[in-house]
Assembly symmetry: C2
Homo-oligomer: 374 residues x 2
Amino acid sequence: MQFQMNKDKLLYHLVIAQKALSNKTPNPALTGIKVDVFKDRILLTTSNGEISILKTITDPSLQVEKEGTVLIPGRYFVEIIRKLDGQNVLLSAHENNLLKIEADHSDITLNLLDVEDYPKLLFKESAESVKVNVRVFKTLIRQTAFAASGVENRPILTGVYFKLDGNQLTGIATDSYRLAKKSIELDQIYAPMDVIIPSKSVEELGRILEDNQKSVELHFSPSSILFKYDDTLLLSRLLEGNYPETSKLIPLEFPHEVTFNKEQLLIAIERASLLSSRDGQNAIVKLEIRNDDAVEISSSSPEIGRVLEEIQPVAEVKGNPLKIAFSSKFLLDALKAFNSSEIKVGFTGEIRPFVMTGEYDPDMLQLILPVKTD
Amino acid sequence: MQFQMNKDKLLYHLVIAQKALSNKTPNPALTGIKVDVFKDRILLTTSNGEISILKTITDPSLQVEKEGTVLIPGRYFVEIIRKLDGQNVLLSAHENNLLKIEADHSDITLNLLDVEDYPKLLFKESAESVKVNVRVFKTLIRQTAFAASGVENRPILTGVYFKLDGNQLTGIATDSYRLAKKSIELDQIYAPMDVIIPSKSVEELGRILEDNQKSVELHFSPSSILFKYDDTLLLSRLLEGNYPETSKLIPLEFPHEVTFNKEQLLIAIERASLLSSRDGQNAIVKLEIRNDDAVEISSSSPEIGRVLEEIQPVAEVKGNPLKIAFSSKFLLDALKAFNSSEIKVGFTGEIRPFVMTGEYDPDMLQLILPVKTD
């Protein structure tokens, strides 16, 4: 194996491939980046067992002297390429499983990992794929994946549920205390399909996709999903099982409705969270719609003190008074998912879920279950 | 106690006072910021036992309604002021040791700490003080304090030794494996004096001083030093004991001399450090002056691999060949202390200290003790 290419180009691709690299893994082979060198292109493969990335490099600067496959210790490889001087870098495999990296006045030798130990990964495209605009898909990811569960006691809830129906793709995530849902329109009609993708894979995909108007292709197979974007393939396992029926959880009628300026509500909640005792993970904040239609946000902690914030809603209030309490983190997460600057909140009662929507966030809703307080 | 003032101005002063605030302290009173409110000014006091800060606020926006002294939980106080809306903030003390903070539509109540528990701190100016230009003093700090010892087994070495002699102020720091020394010229002649200041205090002072042409005043007393800068007083305890005689450690004649481009040497050392096994705190790097006057920087780790860097010195080399090994961290720290872009390194032998100087760093030297290798 021997090739040379522009160092910065190589680094660019490595940084993306690195995202699926694991530092702590029971399989040492997965700490490596597999490099397949062909006459006209290079493949970089990484995997952490959950997500795998296959990146194809075809670059005018690439000059292949000798084909071959090596498994390079990933962390060292990326750091070395990042720190090299000079325009080009030359990589060559040698006896005793050694890799030479040469650039400018640097001459570096790395012990290679054994490529035979690398797992076989199947980056297989399906005959039919679903095409989604990247910018729109990134919005769907950003507005839903955060609401998935971080704990493993109900594994199915650690995923994002994707449902394809006609020309509509819907993403749903819930940890059973809150729920996020967003639907997007596709350019054509597809056969119905639904899958549950680990939220970590979905979020990693969101980071890899650049914010542009290109398409990402979704290729489905029984136990995995392959995302194809430019010269990058991202493979994720799917979660097995039935996703809970969530549509019945979402109230449709709201006896109480308040419209907030998003920034005003956000900063008031942040201030109210400041003094929380933080014994649990989440600060509990209270919201009260007063008889005069002003809204009070408050929190208190016997040891530290209390915060009282007053907000004037930006539209007519429906159904005062009301008192409700909730996790400030859940509300902040949900608020940050919105593009709209005004957020309509529909309440159904003190211990019933409330729903947030925004005019400039079509087909998106955020639902939060309140907590009981005394 | 009751006053109001511009919120951003208050925050500006709090952020500086906060630097002496301790989060973990056996004395809970020290987690508080003491606020003394007088008719025309406010004093903020903080202390972590090692360093204490007294900040005087006189601001046109300040309106005092009622004098008094309170001890406010520091971390919450700063975070609240940071997050408040509106231009002004109103603070008032109330019964049951409560503090009210009001701004815009926020109404916050904090439980105060008991001001009786706060230690008495003596921010006493001496009759005679030493005046030092702030920019010059910051340079002295930056070029020396990092070389002090971080471990407590020889407490005296955790300090920076300051020696006043005529119109010259010299700072020296060493952890016994490396030494940094810098002298600066003062505007007038002072009586001889020497003190050892904890390096943490010195570094904190460096962070508080803004990079300008004003003066900082040094006020000495038997067991403490007071720095006066603008409306800020910083009080530090002194270390007791005799600082070791260091002048004999510094070689004056160098059989070997090499001048490097600083950036070239820096990046070569950084690359060589990449593959170090990192079993100790510091990667060991080797330097060899070859017969052809080129310099090789190398490191190796049996498990990972090896790095070989070649550097062309930027001036005539004196005394080849030579092989030497040292801690890469020590060399990087020392290099980063220089303003000069070319660094002259004088070697006295394979296991004897070497000394670095630079044309644009007058009266400054960095010394490093090599390590033995096989």
